[in-house]
Symmetry: C2
């Protein structure tokens, strides 16, 4: 059976909530998730896993305790496990996240921006 | 330390070989690899892992024994483990592959198109 095609822009058109990642594909025990972000997230880390951010549209920053990484469309970075970080976007930015199934967006931090997990679009 | 930024188009400018994936990032035991493809690859499968194709520029097809999946820029698919497939691109196409470290491009098939593994760009 041919494999399902995931069109990232079509998927982005199908939700509007900010800071609420939607799963678009699974590979082994990893998930590819789209997120729309704007404003400041919370400081958090993921103790057991690295996390990939790949910017699909717009610009974002990831603040670390000792510096900032800026990402534009077509740029990606890997946040190492256990590294505190705080994503930020001045204007709405669309991001593809790659991480193991079950990772919570706020890590250990919780709070108002903690999103429901494993929501597909 | 802020995380390294990987600009996919900059990385693509730094190599020209076809069917020869270059690693651009590692997340846990997974690798993100860029590949330039044109023409027909070989039938093969990866017995132990799924494999993600995400088209960065151009168009490609993945032939399966019972159908074909077409992918354009901004589209991705997951080839399930153990599923025979044959990538194809009429014109040069640039793809981001995601798969565990150590996966060989030709799977069990080998042959002239088998690329050296774990080559970074």
């Amino acid at each position: 059976m041919p494999s399902d095609v995931v069109n990232l822009r079509d998927k982005l058109d199908r939700f509007s909530g900010l800071w609420s990642p939607r799963v678009v594909a699974e590979m082994n025990d990893y998930q590819f998730k789209l997120a729309k972000i704007r404003g400041e997230f919370v400081w958090h880390d993921h103790r057991d896993t690295d996390e990939v951010f790949l910017v699909i549209a717009g610009e974002m920053s990831i603040e670390f305790r000792d510096g900032v990484t800026h990402l534009s469309e077509g740029e990606m970075c890997v946040v190492p496990r256990g590294t505190e970080h705080k994503p930020y976007a001045e204007n709405e930015c669309h991001v593809l996240l790659v991480e193991p199934r079950g990772v919570v967006n706020t890590g250990e931090a919780g709070g108002a921006l903690q999103a429901e997990n494993d929501v597909w679009v």
